[in-house]
């Protein structure tokens, strides 16, 4: 049994060692610019990736300013799309499953915003539909994909591809989770540092 554990762990380590640093840095810059202009972040994906989007959004909103919520004047909000199960089922039932993200986004998305799309295959039809909308509105795309990246990786401005063999969902989703937490940690540290720096000045 330990052999299996060792083998999986070493695959995970290998995937982590090869995370695309420059693309993650680009994603951080895109989010930084979004913060500066007072935009919002919309995150989405299917199945486990939907879970990742929810987890990221809740962590981000709860913790990003948490140490000094009252000391920051600007706000930085993330929203999972769609934000309720009711919307999800309504779009799926009334219009079609390929519109569950693009439908609600049509109503929400403004020029100032950023989208984070999460898809292991990078080819989920509903994710691509939402990205076509983002592209049309010139909204920057942060794309987290796996395997060979699919269409998502081609369309994204920050191409966070966790390259694996096809079908390695566990590895891809696991590494995506680490990268998403890394993004939160970066902004948490950044906002803490701003307060420290202001205190010194």
């Amino acid at each position: 049994m330990t052999d299996f554990i060792k083998q999986f762990s070493s695959q995970a380590i290998k995937a982590l060692e090869h995370v695309p640093e420059t693309e993650i840095a680009k994603a951080l810059s895109i989010l930084q610019a979004c913060f500066e202009r007072g935009g919002r972040i919309y995150a989405f994906g299917n199945g486990g990736s939907y879970g990742l989007a929810s987890h990221w959004v809740s962590d981000f909103n709860k913790t990003v300013f948490s140490h000094h919520l009252d000391k920051h004047d600007d706000r930085f909000q993330a929203i999972r799309v769609p934000s309720t199960t009711e919307e999800l089922t309504a779009w799926a039932n009334d219009v079609g499953y390929d519109m569950v993200f693009a439908g609600p986004l049509k109503n929400l998305l403004q020029d100032k915003d950023v989208v984070i799309a999460i898809s292991s295959s990078g080819n989920s039809a509903n994710v691509i539909k939402a990205l076509e909308l983002a592209k049309k509105r010139n909204v920057p795309i942060i794309g987290l994909s796996g395997f060979d990246g699919g269409k998502l990786n081609q369309m994204a401005d920050a191409k966070i591809l966790v390259k694996t063999e096809k079908g390695q969902y566990e590895l891809v989703e696991g590494v995506h989770d680490v990268i998403l937490h890394m993004i939160i940690k970066y902004f948490k540290n950044y906002f803490d540092y701003q307060i420290e720096r202001n205190a010194k000045a």
């Binding site: 680009k26 951080l28 810059s29 610019a33 500066e36 202009r37 020029d111 540092y193």
Partner: protein
């Protein structure tokens, strides 16, 4: 109403290599960053007021585009054949001709706003190209393309101007600590001397054949500047700025003058690692990189030199770097 903003920029190395006369023979390169001083452009449709109205440092309301005094607004409206019934207003925290690229920020914000006004979408590169075309091709200004790209893209970039006319924008990805560190070592002073980039650049353009080797050196130094910036070695960056400024002074007779030299010399003597004049030269802003504990001394020295030079508009400008490029702040047409 449509509200678009574009940042001004600070350019560190390679200014002048973005002129066609140079980059058609050898790749031009510039390292610059967007700063937290924005030109805001507001557009409003006025179907019930059949006029062209422009508000900037002055206010004008006319019946024909060709009657507008503002050359940028006039050329853009003519080129895009914008129908009558529009108000255009711009807002900026600093005067023009400070060397912070504000006139290109103006063009970039204007063209992005006009594209939305006409129901079109332009990405950053398209806006940068449209602004370059407006200023260089339509208005025949003897300027380069670095400011349009800096204003459209935002953040720190190494911008390369290729001989085939294409432009490569390579973001220099610095974390928040390096940004903050850089800001803490930086000082920016407005000399109060306004100058027209055109007068300096016209001479520089005429000289670019003779000064080819100097410009080549300046272009190559942008690569070293990028690498040193990524390492966060601000003392080294300071001396690179100093060398660059010495080179730049040789490009045209009016890049510097007595007052500028005494201001710059004063800052260096007071302990700055290095610095430069921003923009084409002849006036505008002076930037220094300096040890944090020498900043008070430099500030005092600069004030004294400015007093001697009778520079009534002299002022220190606090500055922060921003990641933002051209951005749509409001779009409810």
């Amino acid at each position: 109403m449509i509200i678009v903003r574009a940042p001004m920029r600070m350019s560190f190395v390679g200014g002048g290599t973005d002129l066609h006369a140079f980059y058609s023979k050898y790749p031009g390169r510039v390292v610059s960053t967007a700063i937290d001083k924005f030109v805001y452009m507001v557009l409003n449709r006025t179907p019930l007021v059949p006029k062209y109205s422009a508000r900037y440092s002055i206010s004008e309301t006319v019946d024909k585009i060709s009657d507008l005094k503002n050359s940028r607004i006039r050329a853009a409206l003519e080129d895009l054949e914008v129908p009558i019934g529009i108000e255009i207003a711009s807002f900026a925290p600093l005067p023009s001709r400070t060397g912070l690229g504000s006139s290109s920020s103006f063009s970039v914000a204007l063209l992005k706003a006009l594209s939305l006004y006409q129901g079109k979408q332009m990405n950053k590169r398209e806006v940068a190209e449209a602004a370059s075309r407006l200023e260089i091709d339509l208005l025949n200004e003897p300027i380069g393309k670095q400011d349009q790209y800096a204003a459209a893209f935002g953040g720190f970039n190494l911008i390369q101007f290729n001989p085939d006319g294409t432009v490569t924008v390579e973001p220099i990805l610095l974390d928040y600590k390096k940004h903050a560190d850089f800001e803490d070592h930086l000082m920016l002073f407005y000399t109060g001397i306004t100058r027209d980039a055109a007068s300096v650049l016209t001479e520089q353009k005429a000289n670019s054949g003779k000064k080819f080797e100097v410009l080549k050196k300046m272009s190559d130094s942008a690569l070293t500047f990028r690498d040193t910036l990524l390492k966060g070695n601000f003392e080294e960056l300071g001396s690179m700025l100093h060398e660059g400024w010495q080179l730049k002074k040789t490009l045209a007779s009016n890049v510097s003058n007595g007052v500028i030299d005494s201001l710059y010399g004063g800052g260096m003597k007071a302990g700055a690692w290095g610095g430069k004049i921003l923009g084409a030269g002849g006036g505008g802003c002076i930037m220094f990189l300096a040890p944090i504990n020498q900043k008070a001394k430099i500030r005092a020295a600069m004030k004294q030199a400015a007093g001697k030079g009778k520079l009534s508009g002299f002022k220190e400008i606090p500055v922060k770097f921003v990641q933002s490029g051209v951005e749509v702040m409001f779009n409810h047409d």
